[in-house]
Amino acid sequence: MNQKYLIPLTAVFLLFLVAYTGVEGAGLQWFFGFVFPYVALVIFVAGFVYKVLGWAASAVPFRIPTTCGQQKSLPWIKQNAIDNPSTSMGVVVRMILEIFLFRSLFRNTKAAFNKNVSNRLSYSWEIFLWLGALAFHYAFLVVILRHFRFFTSPVPSCLQFLEKLDGIVQLGLPGIFLSGVVLLAATLFLLARRIFDAKVTYISQAADYFPLFLIIAIAATGIAMRYFTKVDIIGIKTLTMGLATFSYVIPEGVGGLFYAHLFLVSILFIYFPMSKLMHMGGIFLSPTRNMANNTRMKRHINPWNYDVDIHTYEQYEDHFREKMIEAGLPVDKKE
């Protein structure tokens, strides 16, 4: 057993129990259902803004785009305008493709020894991280958007359309939402990858496992509430609408499982700005992706260059002219 994933796993279990017992045993609905979500939201927004402003204030003196294709050169050499952009239009296309399709992950390769006699180290294309990541991110996005039904009343038709698409398989009642299943499956796959692939295990820290366990717990509690244990959905919506309209509503008959779900989401919000999850904001600011490779067309001056006190040859000659003439050295100005 590896403490790098045992500690985060235990932490998520304890967090779940804190909320569950806090509500079921101590009756702290007011804290887990009203106070803590606001605290989490304030920390999330403030932390996110603080982080991004910090990055925005950092100097980016050099153009350091990663170049993944032919750069702009002579007219008869074809440029790869997206993978080695020289204009801001190319950069925009590159960023959109990176943000929506994770192209840099798509290029992921793995190193392994050949299984035949030669036993040579070889690199091959490894697509499953990209697939898992894409499935996870999009499923999570749909799940988050779907939860807006708890914060709007009446629910906008675009959200109802999304729910209709998400429930298109019409399996069982209440109808299954594909995004929830994909979210849980994809996070479990990403976790399995970290645990069973020795090379990934080696570079995985507790900070890599914690968000995975947290999101797995959030998805599992959500799925449990919808399909198995069942909750009073109308009661829950009065609570969430109360949160959205700043009025204190604690419905009766809503159990600890819901508060545990809400608490884990709040923990995710608090954890977000201080963790690797900030890649959500960071991807927009990655200098290796969002800069045009135009160093040979434009002069970029280091913003903190100061005027260097230089000693020119004229000044040198003015200083030593007489001595130079005495020594018979050639000078530009004779007097």
Binding site: V155, I234, K237
Partner: protein, 131 residues
Amino acid sequence: MTKNIILTGLGIFVLAVLSPFWFNMVTTTQAKPSPELLGKAKTEKKCVLDKYDMRANHMSLLDEWRDSVVRDADRMYTSANGKSFNMSLSTGENSCLGCHEDKAKFCDSCHTYASVRPYCWDCHTNPKEIE
């Protein structure tokens, strides 16, 4: 230049995160529904399952009923309290809608509030609508 782009993006993100709050300020918010028991249901007071079980599991029950009727032609359901019910959503006096007469005030009020759109009505009709 880049600073302005970053600040614009950050502003949009914060607005999106806080959308539940301002969305409810600029739109009128529908209040919590209170489903009404009307007509027969009001006097009968005894449903297939007890109130909380019904609230949580009515959809699963209807799912089982559908399979039972369509596959086994078994239309009788005996509940835990010993009463027998005709497994039917909308046909006759002894069906769900036979007792809960007003679909809009009984079914739809909660379903609309929670944004649940049951596909019952893709096939079934509300008997009140035909007349």
